[in-house]
């Protein structure tokens, strides 16, 4: 039986954690994601950029009280990729 290939963008602990977190919310700020994933600032920044480059999340940069504010939101492409990834994972677990 052939297994469906796992999306390399999502098959990474931190990137999968970020997308799973964004599935359940409308949008989330950088600090919220940082707290919930327990990642380091640098690593999270890199992985958010990877997800953004893949078109899975939209990143909005703004300011609040003169401090930079990063807000992330899952895109339709990201949602579709997540659903496909979950289906593939289920296929692996069934065997």
């Amino acid at each position: 039986m052939a297994f469906a290939p796992l999306d390399p963008v999502l098959h990474n602990q931190l990137r999968l954690a970020v997308v799973s977190l964004l599935i359940g919310v409308e949008s989330a700020e950088f600090n919220f994601i940082l707290e919930k994933t327990g990642a380091t600032r640098g690593n999270l920044s890199v992985q958010l950029t990877n997800l953004k480059d893949a078109g899975y999340i939209a990143v909005k940069k703004s300011f609040r009280d003169n401090y930079p504010l990063t807000t992330c939101k899952l895109t339709a492409k990201g949602l579709k990729a997540f659903e496909t990834y979950v289906e593939a994972i289920k296929g692996y677990l069934k065997t």
């Binding site: 999968l16 977190l21 919310v25 409308e26 700020e29 600090n31 979950v86 677990l93």
Partner: protein, 195 residues
Amino acid sequence: MNTELTPSESLKLIESMIGQAKKSFSRISFYFLLWGVLLTAAMIVTYLTGESGPSWVNGMAWGVAGALGGILSAVHGARQSKTEEVANPMDSIIGWVWISFVITMMIVILCSVFVHRDPGAMITLLTGIPTFMTGQVMRFRPLVIGGVLFWAAGIVMHLTADPLALTALYCGAMVLGYIIPGIMLKRQEDGLRTP
């Protein structure tokens, strides 16, 4: 946190993160405490002035409580929205349930004024709906129990006309349905006690 995952680890991670997101509700204890105290005070003023005072004093107590609560809620909500780190769709659902309740309550009050009937029992009964729903959505049992108590108080209030009994039932429902759950929710929001 960049390691390769096995399929079962992936699934566990997904479940854990979705669970974290679901728990990310806005802080709403302020509203329960504010409205609980204001409406309980308005009911007590209404009872104390009901026998002797002019009728406009009773109306004014509810008017002042409503206006003060509305202004403070709006200011608090505006400030809170500026500092919110996450937008949870469940927050929107809870918000719309409460807006629906306020609209229904205003209609009930207006209709009651036209037919010269006390709207207290009906409003108490209606208050059970958003309180119960908020508790269920947030999985916060004190609010679920509070909603049931509002329904129970609303039923009994329909069966009596005694001012003292009506006041005791309404204030009791407010304390047990809004104020005590509000205090417990605040403790949870402050991280003093986990759910």
